[in-house]
Structure formats: C-alpha cells, structure tokens
C-alpha cells in the first residue's frame, strides 16, 4: 500500500477504494515522487534530514498530524540533530542557508500567490545555489500536493460513509 493510501485509510471494498485501484499507477508514481524529494540519490545542499524537517514543518502548517509524524520519523532516522528545530513552524537552526530555505518553504505552503522574484533573490543572497532553489521548490510543491490528495480522499471517504 502506498503512503497516500495508508494516510487516507479508504476501505478497499468501497466505491472510492475501487476508484483508487483504477488509479494505481498514479499512486505508484506519487510514491516514487515522495522518494525523489525526501531521499534522493543526489540531495545537493538539502540533506535528507533537512528535507524531512521541512516536510514535517509544512505538514504542521496544514494541520495533518499523521503526515507530520511520518516525516518526523524520517527526521529521527536521519540523525541530523542540527535541523530538528526547523520541523516546527517558526523554528530556526542558526544556519543562514537552512533558515532561509525554511522561510521559503513557509511561503510556498502558506501563500504561494505572494511569491515574487525577490523571494528567489533572497535565497540567492543567503547563498542557496540555483539547483538547490529548484530542489527546495520541488520538495515544497510535492508535500503540498500530497497533503491535498490525502485531505481530498478523507473528505470523499466521509461522504461515502454517510
């Protein structure tokens, strides 16, 4: 079972469960995308620990406790103690690069519509490389996708159960 299915908890025998079966390849690719942004072979300037911490932070912003716990467990396994504080909204770790990336993850989660060229310039000025800016954006974009698929499925499940 993929992470999205585990989180949504849709009964297999329900009509929504059958619909998920018809979209099995989409769920499989969503899981592959999770692995590509959380534990990539080439992490660049975003360690696996930092990625898990930022993912947990974004899940807290949206209020999904189960997904937060999932990313907290990735963070614990990374043994990266330096970035633990970033898993909480408002948390900072004292490393200018990582803190700038955490603030950008906040922006992409809370108010992406407000993002401008200046926000990318701020990251560059903090020393974040262009490749890392793209890696960070993909991480934040994926986590927000996953949060919405899970939230949407839970709502559809609740309606079918009525």
């Amino acid at each position: 079972m993929t992470l999205i299915e585990t989180m949504a908890g849709v009964p297999e025998g329900s009509r929504l469960g059958q619909a998920l079966k018809a979209r099995a390849e989409i769920l499989r690719l969503s899981e592959a995308a999770h692995d590509a942004v959380l534990v990539p072979r080439e992490p660049g300037g975003l360690s696996h620990g930092l990625r898990a911490a930022l993912a947990a932070r974004m899940c807290r912003h949206v209020g999904d406790a189960a997904l937060t716990a999932h990313y907290e467990s990735y963070l614990a396994h990374s043994h990266d103690l330096d970035v633990v504080a970033l898993a909480e909204p408002g948390g900072a770790c004292g490393n200018a690069l990582d803190d700038a990336m955490a603030r950008h993850a906040d922006l992409l989660t809370l108010s992406p519509r407000e993002a401008t060229r200046q926000d990318i310039e701020t990251l560059k000025a903090a020393g974040v490389s262009e490749a890392d800016i793209v890696r960070l954006s993909e991480l934040a974009a994926f986590v927000n996708y996953q949060l919405r698929v899970v939230a949407g499925l839970k709502l559809l499940k609740a309606v079918e159960a009525r």
């Binding site: 018809a22 979209r23 992409l108 919405r148």
Partner: protein
C-alpha cells in the same frame, strides 16, 4: 521588449525563469533522460530546462502529471482543466491559468465561464456541476485547506462518480504542485 503579465488572461504568455536553466549542451545523461531529450526531440522549454536542476523529481513528475491530466476514463478532460484552473486561480499562477483556461475554452467553447472566473475569481457563479467542481477544487487549494465534507457531498449530488471525484482531487492537487513551481520560479511575459 516584453512585459510581466500580472492579470488573468487566456492568451498564453511566455515564461521566463528567475534561475538559470540547465544548458542542453552541458546537461548530464540523467538530466537529458528526465527531460526526455532524444536525437529526434531536442525542443525543450525553459521551464523543463529549469526543472532539470532536479532530474530525479522531474523524471517522476512528468508522467504523473500527464496521467492525472490526460487519462482516458473518469472525469472529462474539460473538467480536469477546470480543476487545474481552480488551483491556478487560488495560487495566482498567471501562466498556468492562461494555459488551462485556453484548453478549457478549446474543449468546451465556454468563453463565458472563463470570463466569469477571471472577473469574480473564487466568487464566480457557475452552473451546478461546474460550481461543485470549482468550489471543491478551490477550497482544496487554499492553506489551510477549506474544503469540507459538505463540499465533497455537492460533488456526489451533482452526479459525479467516485472515480470522477477522485480525478478532481488529483487534478486540483497536481496544480498545487505545478503552481508552486511555475509561479514561484519564474514569471509570465508578453
């Protein structure tokens, strides 16, 4: 000299990145594979060249995006475009909005629906089924997520099957992803 586009339009602008795209000539084999560059396909957009900085993500996202937006059964293409449009309005991605408004019009001929959405954004008044899709998809796109079981019930009441309901979740969510790249890594120019 082109100018940055700040208002919703169905005329597709160009997209100009804030970061330096990967250069095709110096791309790694992994980046070329993720961009699907072959000897017969060398036309790669600045957007894809920008995302090639993270080839592991790009390689998975492209087929995922295509499967969600262009799958054969389930929700109609036009209604998937409406899902894309809904998220893009909430996230104010001018470029994504233009592309998917234009596709919606191409599939339905309903210029008036797009004009209403551009004028009133999330307050747009649409016919019952489109309203249910638009309201659910926009409310799923906000942070915090505003969609409720009552919004989902309106999908069922409008006659959407479970597969169609799943497809509107997926098309709105994948644009939560696309908007966060396109709108934040570059700007639309015309």
């Amino acid at each position: 000299m082109s100018k940055v586009v700040h208002t919703f339009t169905a005329a597709i602008p160009t997209w100009s990145p804030y970061v330096t795209p990967v250069e095709l000539a110096s791309a790694t084999p992994e980046q070329l594979a993720a961009m699907k560059v072959t000897p017969s396909n060398k036309g790669v957009s600045p957007y894809v060249l920008t995302l090639a900085h993270d080839p592991e993500s790009l390689e998975v996202r492209s087929p995922l995006f295509n499967m969600i937006m262009y799958g054969k059964d389930g929700l109609s293409s036009a209604e998937r475009e409406l899902g894309a449009l809904s998220a893009s309005i909430v996230n104010r991605c001018i470029y994504c909005t233009a592309v998917h408004a234009s596709r919606f019009i191409g599939l339905t001929g309903q210029n008036d629906v797009v004009e209403d959405i551009f004028a009133d954004e999330r307050d747009a008044t649409l016919e019952t089924r489109q309203q249910a899709l638009f309201d659910f998809a926009t409310k799923l796109s906000t942070t915090p997520i505003e969609a409720t079981a009552d919004d989902a019930l309106k999908l069922a009441n409008a006659g959407l099957s479970e597969l169609e309901q799943l497809d509107i979740v997926l098309s709105a969510a994948i644009f939560g992803w696309a908007n966060r790249l396109m709108h934040t890594l570059g700007e639309p120019r015309a």
